[in-house]
């Protein structure tokens, strides 16, 4: 991985230790089996807040640490590794939208509370099952929002929605009258909901200029990509361990060249994907071409995790099909993240468009 600063190394180590000790995959299972509609454990999120993770992309003036996107990525990669359910990615993406597009008043009102982990914010973007298909129909009229948003991350309990309407982004308080939530129970056992807006008070994100819509979505894409990379890494490691201990024909599976070459190919692809995703995070911090790198990172992470999640089950054999074993849990989260903010076909089209071909 990229060369880290001392502060980043400490953050990464802290996240790694915390995830290994406090949030192994069994923590996710426990939450899933409890039937939680919220999709995450508020006590765990409060712990993340106390470690400063909830304010990493929020300026110090608003209670954040302004530690940067790459640093947030270090944490999200670790969380992805053990499928730790938390609204950290969606809340950070929503906060970053306010940082870019919000007025001083909007920032004052919301950012300190997001940074402190007191509230959960989320982006409400899509109106159908496929991102980017069809025009946005949610309308703003006379200070009120009308429309329906589908598959909103953490929609069951979010306190603040950053909503994409036909003419830009709006902030909507989750407690507003006229706002309805319908749970969608999905393969990853996280919270997804359809949110209805029927004459709901909303204030526009008026700053940030013309590229605001794209930038907000690109940021969200890159955060998805790093979580996916963490999942890839874990699936690869777990599969490699399994091949080294499973014995058939009196030898460990790891001694078969057919399997060695499959693992070497996956290793190669994961390293390439890592470069793209880290490059995109660095571009967010250093002001590179965010749109192109986001399209590249999300498409490669989509494809990589798709392949890795299938190979992990196949290489585990029958046991990979069981609910008791972890690998199956990853494929159920993987496909949701692949669809989020654009599947690979969408990203390729966008990439080509950005490069004018």
């Amino acid at each position: 991985m990229a060369v880290l600063s001392e502060e980043q190394s400490m953050l990464r180590d802290m996240a790694q230790d915390w995830v290994n000790n406090e949030s192994p995959v069994s923590a996710f299972r426990k939450l899933r089996d409890s039937g939680s509609r919220q999709g995450f454990d508020p006590a765990v999120y409060a712990e993340m807040a106390s470690m400063g993770w909830t304010g990493i992309v929020i300026p110090e003036a608003y209670g954040g640490t302004d530690f940067g996107w790459f640093s947030l990525g270090l944490v999200l990669e670790e969380l992805g590794r053990t499928l730790t359910p938390s609204p950290l990615a969606s809340s950070s993406a929503a906060a970053a939208a306010i940082v870019l597009g919000g007025s001083d008043e909007q920032k004052d009102k919301w950012l300190p509370r997001i940074a402190a982990g007191e509230i959960v914010a989320t982006l409400a973007t899509d109106e159908g099952p496929r991102h980017g298909q069809g025009a946005i129909e949610t309308r703003h009229f006379d200070g009120k929002l009308f429309g329906r948003k589908q598959f909103v991350d953490n929609g069951d309990s979010a306190d603040l929605f950053v909503v994409l309407a036909s003419d830009g982004w709006y902030l909507v308080d989750g407690g507003s009258a006229g706002l309805t939530r319908s749970t969608r129970s999905m393969t990853d056992s996280r919270s997804h909901a359809e949110i209805g807006f029927d004459s709901v008070p909303a204030t526009k994100l008026d700053c940030g200029g013309e590229g605001l819509t794209d930038t907000i979505l690109d940021q969200a894409r890159i955060l998805c990509a790093i979580e996916m990379l963490g999942m890839c890494r874990q699936l690869f490691d777990v599969t490699l361990d399994y091949l080294k201990q499973r014995i058939q024909f009196d030898q460990v599976l790891a001694s078969f060249q057919a399997l060695q070459h499959r693992m070497a190919a996956l290793f190669t692809e994961i390293e390439l994907t890592r470069s793209a995703v880290e490059g995109a995070l660095a571009a967010l911090d250093n002001g590179g071409d965010i749109s192109v790198t986001a399209a590249q990172a999300k498409a490669l992470a989509n494809d990589m995790l798709n392949t890795m999640s299938r190979e992990a089950i196949q290489l585990h054999g029958g046991i990979g099909m069981t609910d008791e074993f972890d690998v199956g849990l990853y494929i159920k989260r993987a496909r949701i993240l692949e669809n989020a903010f654009g599947n690979s076909a969408f990203m390729r089209d966008r990439f080509a468009q950005l490069l004018a071909f």
Binding site: A2, V252, A254, F267, S275, L355
Partner: protein, 402 residues
């Protein structure tokens, strides 16, 4: 020649830079600007020959073709930082390094590491001046990926060896002055029976036969050794150390092969090439939607490869040892080079399949030949299959027996 830019560590970088600039201004022939491909030609003939030879002589005498090699053996003696400045200034001037070949890329670095003082004095200066062409005598008809099974035998005759056997895939063997070769000095041991020898290609008993490839080119040949006398002073290292030395040399080879591959000599990007041959609709999109998606995917992966190469360089500079990602560079670089060639061909259609003569542009013909020639990249220098073995065993720890 100007003395403004004597390599000198005491110079501050900016003084060094202005010295280099002045020297290039005085010595780089403007007629050669942007003609880097001349360096790849065997013998530069025609109107550019005089300028090219003058440029080569100028760079050779400064040792700047091998900028970081020790000055005592004819290298430039520059620090890494100075070498970087030199290459920046050369790029700025449209200049190129006229000194290259296997001597520079592979043999020189290895000899500097393992050779005796006499051997370095004898061989390195001529490499720095680009005067001697070296070829590699490694592979044999029966020893490809399993190189250590090589059979070419060097029989001990006191102060010399008598070498008998056959090498193949000898790059540029038919034009080479000298050969660095792996030979067997002990038939009872596989790896430990191998020795590294330097063989003069003009010695009686050495013959070469070019191998014609599918691309029409003959960059390789078969080399036969029939009772060839090689003095023992031409042995690098001790008897039986050849495998260690030879492997080290292959590391230099792999470093230099990264990104090698077909199609990279074509100046146009794939999207531009496709726009030219396939055309765009009213929205500026390529007319072939399927091809467009595949080009996008290729460009994404190619960028990821370049990002990985930079990451590996950053990581190795940070002093945490060699990055594990370095092991994937040859696999990925050669694979993408071939993929790029295949896409170029698909874009050009029939126009990309011309062999020679009228009806095809030089670019088109180069693409065809490059596509065919590029198939070698995933085979030589440790095939993709061997690289996968290396990753599985050395990095992933997937051993044969546990």
């Amino acid at each position: 020649m100007s003395t403004a830019a004597r390599a000198d560590d005491s110079l501050d970088p900016e003084a060094f830079r202005s010295g280099v600039r002045a020297w290039l201004d005085a010595n780089f022939p403007r007629s050669l600007k942007g003609r880097a491909q001349l360096a790849l030609e065997l013998d530069v003939t025609g109107p550019e020959a005089a300028d090219f030879n003058a440029w080569k002589a100028a760079m050779g005498s400064k040792g700047w073709g091998t900028p970081t090699w020790p000055a005592e053996y004819g290298g430039g003696g520059l620090s890494k930082e100075q070498a970087k400045i030199l290459s920046q200034e050369m790029a700025r001037a449209g200049a190129f390094n006229p000194i290259g070949g296997m001597g520079v890329m592979m043999f020189g670095p290895t000899l500097l590491e393992y050779g005796s003082e006499e051997q370095k004095q004898e061989h390195i200066p001529a490499i720095c001046r680009g005067e001697i062409r070296w070829c590699q005598g490694y592979s044999e008809p029966g020893a490809g990926s399993d190189l250590a099974s090589l059979q070419t035998f060097a029989e001990d005759k006191g102060d010399h060896y008598i070498v008998n056997g056959q090498k193949t895939w000898t790059s540029g063997g038919q034009w080479a002055d000298k050969c660095f070769a792996l030979v067997r000095t002990d038939k009872s041991k596989k790896h430990e029976g191998i020795t590294f020898l330097l063989i003069d290609m003009t010695t009686p008993g050495v013959t070469t036969k070019p191998i014609r490839l599918i691309s029409g080119a003959s960059p390789f040949c078969e080399t036969f050794f029939d009772n060839v006398v090689v003095p023992k002073t031409n042995r690098v290292g001790k008897e039986g150390e050849g495998w260690t030395i030879g492997k080290r040399l292959l590391q230099h080879e792999r470093t230099n092969l990264v990104g090698a591959g077909a199609g990279l000599n074509s100046s146009k990007s794939l999207p531009d090439l496709a726009k030219q041959y396939v055309g765009t609709d009213q929205n500026g999109k390529l007319r072939d939607a399927d091809l467009r998606a595949r080009i996008a995917m290729f460009e994404m992966k190619w960028r990821a490869f370049l990002q990985t190469a930079r990451r590996v360089a950053d990581e190795s500079k940070s002093g945490n040892g060699v990055s594990v990602a370095s092991s994937i560079l040859k696999i990925a670089g050669t694979k993408f080079g071939q993929e790029r060639s295949e896409l170029s061909l698909e874009i050009m259609g029939m126009q990309g399949l011309g062999w020679e003569g009228e009806g095809f542009s030089p670019d088109e013909l180069r693409t065809t030949r490059g596509w065919l020639g590029g198939k070698a990249t995933t085979i030589y220098g440790g095939s993709t299959e061997i690289q996968n073995n290396v990753i599985a065993k050395r990095i992933l720890g997937m051993l044969d027996h546990q």
